[in-house]
Amino acid sequence: MIVELGHFALILAFLVACVQAVVPLIGAHQRWPGWMAMAEPAANAQFMLTAFSFGALTYAFVTSDFSVALVVQNSHSLKPMIYKISGVWGNHEGSMLLWVLILTLFGAMAAWFGGNLPPTLKARVLAVQSSVAVAFFAFIIFTSNPFIRMSVPPFDGQDLNPLLQDPGLAFHPPFLYLGYVGLSLAFSFAVAALIEGRVDAAWGRWVRPWTLLAWVNLTIGIGLGSWWAYYELGWGGFWFWDPVENASFMPWLLAAALLHSSIVVEKRESLKSWTILLAILAFGFSLIGTFIVRSGVITSVHAFANDPERGVFILMILGFFMGGALTLFAARASSMEAKGVFSLVSRESALVMNNILLAVSCFVVFIGTIWPLVAEMLFDRKLSVGPPFFDMAFTPFMVVLGAILPIGAMMPWKRAELGRSLRPLIPAFVLALSVAVLAFAMQTGRSALGPVGLFLGTWLISGAMVDVWSRTGRGAVAGRLSRLGRLPRADWGKAVAHGGLGVTMLGIAGLLAWQQEDIRVVQFNEPFEVAGFTLSLTDVQRIEGPNYISTMGWVDLSRDGRAISTLTPEKRFYPVAQMPTTEAAIDIGFWRDVYVVIGDPQANGGWAIRTYYKPLANWIWGGTILMALGGMLSISDRRFRVAAGAARREPTAGVPAE
């Protein structure tokens, strides 16, 4: 019964979305207040109906209702509760429902916090957002319905893929979707502005917190996925340049570009048409990602059962929204003339450079991702584009970005003097250079990768510190210190996010340049050395888990005779899904991880053991967290809360004029 109600609510939400996509648009065109005003309650209704529908599906999973086909295919009565819940989005149909839930959530949030928007713009934003929802509701209802019942319910389910039964991956999709579905709102703002025919500073300010929110979630989502790959896959890689990963990385790069260019729109009323284009493309890449992931066109080589009908449907959605938005852009962009005047050396120019680098690097990822398809269709060549290509073609842009970022961040608006911006950075530069030289001197004849990475990371972190410090003005140190705490949160957000990028670069450089690997057959209680650590396998046992059987090894880790910890690497076997997984054991440290994986027993006794020494590994995700934190600090800045409509609730007398 509840499942049917959920199904019904979904169809109802689709109908509400249809109305919301049309009526406010006409209302805004004719200036009919009543027609425009319907957008707000409709957005709320859409969100609540979708939330109810999602709740109903979750209920079916939680109660293990095996009359629902989706539950049968992705759940099992013995599965721990958390994975019963995460099973809701661990499949195509359920994840699409999560997709529209987040889409309607962003629509509803635009209604809740959009009190400050002009009524016509608000009506148009909500209508455009709803038209995207119409397309995806139709996609779910007509091609991917999660509420289909079984005529003969089986006794138990087929279990969720064991690899997804992991805390890191359970929450990876929701964050990822909050990120790339969140970009839909930036898209809606862009299209609404094109229909309005006007982009001003206020538009830049409205669109920025939403872009930031999407970007923060995308950052967390990608970080979680990468962290999961690191500890779960058994050899500690963190990024593979797979089309599915690239699908989430491209919108991330464009969203990063967008949230920088919208600063220029807000502060300087320039880069308007470019910012609009970025907002359209960022969501476009989200749709392309969805297409890549769900159609199987690009990774189709080794057949996963994919429904071509779904791919075609998404391609149509993509074609409609990108074609429509870009046509509108071509017709209207010329009317958005820029106002600000600035010299070649200025904050504006630095942000233009940031945008060029991010957009071009996104383009490189895009070309690399689709090239196998292009080569096969146009040139009849079956080829691969793998990590070696991306490492070579993508990395240089990031190196340049890292090198100029601290300088650009210090430049004032309008007109900068290079010398004056560079001077405070001299200590940061000297520090970074000495770290790099020290690393180069200490390593033994290896590539420049490590030292260059350490230079960039240190340069970014110390540059961010100099940036924050320079905001405190002049005078005594004590006074400046006390002003540090009163800086706008956006200033802190900027420094924390830039520093976070530096921390991530340090982690990547450290891991790639100085990782050590050891593969060997180990006998019980025969210690061996890896990177100065002593390891000894003491025991291997068979252990039963709730829905798996584990082969667990005990490995004592010590250094110079001092015990550090006992690691328990596992191999698990999930009988229902008939699938094995590896669970690496990691001794996590600030400076390094020691990573142990147990393999197969060997014919002549002993076990295959694989050990890695991974310097600075955790800095990769530490930096990711810092970037997300920086974004959140920025969102919480007062001027966004004011812009988001909170002003109405603040007593006006209490706000001092600045």
């Binding site: 994840s95 206020a202 094995p580």
Partner: protein, 161 residues
């Protein structure tokens, strides 16, 4: 690593778990494959990282757990022990398995476009960006002319702080 893509795939795409039954992880390079000569072994690892496991999804033979990847790893080592140069080993693999086995695409034929796409786009973007900045430098500041007074007041209210 196949499993990463399967998992991401599943997380994002939702493929029936039945299609995953074939995954047989143990792990990539096995102790018995490692060559005694550390220099040769290092070359073998480097080469393996650039060769694709033919039955996997976007995975190098160095990371793959598939039987075929093991065969290819052994083949690479065999050729190295026989005295082939890196280039010869790669050619041997390409002859046998086709261009598809190369994770780093060649620059031959239309592939120059793939390799040149980034730098060309960068030059184009720099050109457009520079000419834009030039116009901004010589432009004259224009006021918010097309706004009505009421809109101006609203705008400044929104922007104040």
């Amino acid at each position: 690593m196949t499993r990463l893509f399967m998992a991401l795939w599943l997380a994002l795409a939702g493929v029936a778990p039945l299609s995953l039954v074939t995954a047989i992880p143990a792990y990539a390079v096995q102790p018995d494959e490692v060559l005694d000569d550390p220099d040769l072994e290092a070359r073998a690892r480097e080469l393996s990282r650039g060769l694709r496991c033919m039955v996997c999804r976007n995975e190098s033979i160095d990371e793959s757990n598939a039987e075929l990847a093991r065969d290819m790893r052994l083949l690479v080592r065999e050729r190295l022990v026989a005295g082939d140069s890196d280039q010869e080993v790669v050619e041997f693999i390409v002859d046998r398995y086709g261009e598809y086995a190369l994770l780093k695409p060649t620059t031959g034929g239309a592939n120059w476009l793939l390799w040149a796409a980034g730098p060309l786009m960068m030059l184009l973007a720099l050109g457009v960006g520079f000419s834009y900045l030039r116009t901004r430098q010589s432009a004259t500041e224009t006021g918010p002319g097309q706004l009505s007074d009421e809109e101006k007041a609203k705008l400044s209210k929104i922007l104040e702080d």
